[in-house]
Amino acid sequence: MSQLAQPSTAAFLALSLDSEEILPLFENAGSWQERYRQIMLLGKKLPKLDEEFRVEQAQVRGCESNAWLYHNEIEGKHYFIADSDARIVKGLIALLLTACNGKSSDEIAAFNSDVYFDRLGLTGQLSPSRTNGLLAVLKAIKTSV
């Protein structure tokens, strides 16, 4: 992806997804409806990717909805910007970014999405293996570092 026009370094660093803040919302959700509500609210925290960056080369293949992913390595840490035109997928991507943003290559390589989604109470319907496209985004994150 390096030859692509990239969002600015500042844009990569601006994305703040504090896992300490976010994860309890899922862990404490009492029903699937509440978990989905949190997923969609979280999706809203990801800024909308400008039209100029919604290009084919940045598109993650294998998604039923459109999803775009940008990666940048800043001082040995990995940062991502992503967007999707479907809300739930966007929220799920935000969950992945929460786990991976600002992490080292080793940390991202060691990231186990099954354990992560299980902890969030999303093992059934929304685990990456059942959600069309999420697995593709995870793979794109893992291969870009």
Partner: protein, 404 residues
């Protein structure tokens, strides 16, 4: 037959998903199978498993008799004139490919192939490939604003004397129905070879080859309560007999030497290799099942159910329907206004509701509608009002969550 008893013949429908009873509204993608189809296939493998047409032993003889009996069943089911007009394929897609390939020698550079804008990819891509091989030109027949085939535009295109006209009987994405009898008559009047994709019609409508009078009609077993992996290519004998076989080898030959090969006669000429024997036998059972239903009553019931589904969707509000007409067959296409179809699909699935969400393998149609995709709810003989009510309730909750 009591409808609850009919529904009870479909074992897949008796399950729960994530604690919700399954509400299956994806019959247009594939229908569920009645017990008798599943049991017939299992019985073939338990007792009769042997290759057809070849061996001298009893199992092969039983398998062959059963396999060929299904050809006769199909002949009478679609009112073909000869049993040789029924070719077993592995589905609609293969059937269309066989026709498009087999006609190569009849098409020359500059010939026109008319295709339906509402067609799914299987009734587009094989024609594009034929056009690439021959220099023919593809032209789509436009749709009217209400998503029906534009008859005026069609008549106009026919003046250019197309070599081939390929239509769908019922659109897979929208459920809209083409008046195939009159469309085919007009195409034949200008000398076109005609093909109809009947995949979405065969389980719902009375399909009569003598009435429709097309050259080719194709459909799949799995959308008519039969198994996957089997389909039918019907062809008018004289034309079918001129198709170049797409597949060669196996039992499509009469004699082979290293100098030359003489092909077998129809239908074997177009059935190279070992056919899907268990699947053909399952398809025969699916036909028996369909024939056991009171046809007119079943059609009326499906029509009322589909109209009820269309009406309930309209009543829900914030719903965009695509080409929803009273005479549609089996399916309704919609979007929750302003929302992505995948979000709707995920939230419905969470509640045990199975619908299709996406481009329905009809990307040109989606482009003509100006959308990326949509949701489609589709029904079958086992569907009931409770399915629709549950679906609408679930969609109401999806609407509350997404439009929150």
């Amino acid at each position: 037959m009591d409808h609850a008893n009919l529904r009870a013949q479909f074992p897949t429908l008796e399950q729960t998903l994530d604690g919700y009873p399954l509400c299956y509204l994806d019959t247009a993608a594939t229908s569920q199978k009645p017990k008798q189809v599943i049991e017939a296939m299992s019985s073939y493998y338990h007792k009769d498993n042997a290759n057809v047409h070849r061996a001298a032993h009893q199992l092969s003889s039983r398998a062959t008799t059963h396999y060929e009996a299904v050809r006769d069943q199909l002949k009478s089911f679609i009112k073909a004139q000869r049993r040789e007009e029924i070719i077993f394929t592995h589905g609609t897609t293969e059937s269309i490919n066989m026709v498009a390939y087999g006609l190569t020698h009849k098409i020359k550079s500059g010939d026109m192939i008319l295709i339906d804008t509402a067609a799914h990819h299987a009734n587009i891509v094989p024609w594009q490939e034929l056009a690439k091989r021959t220099g023919a030109v593809i032209k789509p027949i436009p749709l009217t604003e209400d998503c029906r085939l534009d008859i005026q535009a069609y008549d106009k295109l026919l003046e250019e004397k197309p070599a081939i006209v390929a239509l769908c009987h019922v659109s897979n994405a929208l459920g809209t129905q083409n008046p195939v009898d009159s469309l085919i008559a007009k195409a034949k009047a200008v000398g076109a070879i005609t093909l109809i994709d009947g995949a979405q019609a065969i389980a719902h409508l009375d399909v009569d080859m003598q009435k429709i009078n097309c050259d080719f009609y194709v459909f799949s077993g799995h959308k008519m309560y039969g198994p996957t992996g089997v389909g039918v290519l019907y062809g008018r004998f004289e034309l079918l007999d001129t198709l170049t076989p797409m597949m060669t080898g196996g039992e499509m030959i009469k004699t082979v030497s290293f100098d030359s090969t003489e092909y077998n006669i129809l239908p074997n000429r177009l059935e190279a290799g070992t056919p899907p024997i268990a699947e053909v036998i399952g398809l025969g059972e699916a036909l028996s099942f369909l024939l056991s239903l009171p046809t007119a009553e079943t059609a009326q019931r499906e029509k009322e159910l589909l109209n009820y589904l269309q009406q309930q969707l309209k009543n829900l509000g914030d719903i965009t329907l695509y080409g929803a007409h009273e005479d549609n067959i089996g399916a309704v296409a919609f979007n929750l206004t302003g929302e992505h179809h995948q979000d709707v699909g995920i939230l419905l699935d969470q509640q045990g509701i199975a619908v299709r969400c996406g481009h329905h393998c009809a990307m040109p149609l989606m482009q003509s509608l100006g959308i990326k995709g949509c949701c489609r709810a589709s029904i079958g003989v086992y569907s009931n009002k409770e399915d629709i009510d549950r679906f609408i309730e679930a969609l109401k909750s999806v609407k509350d969550m997404l439009l929150d």
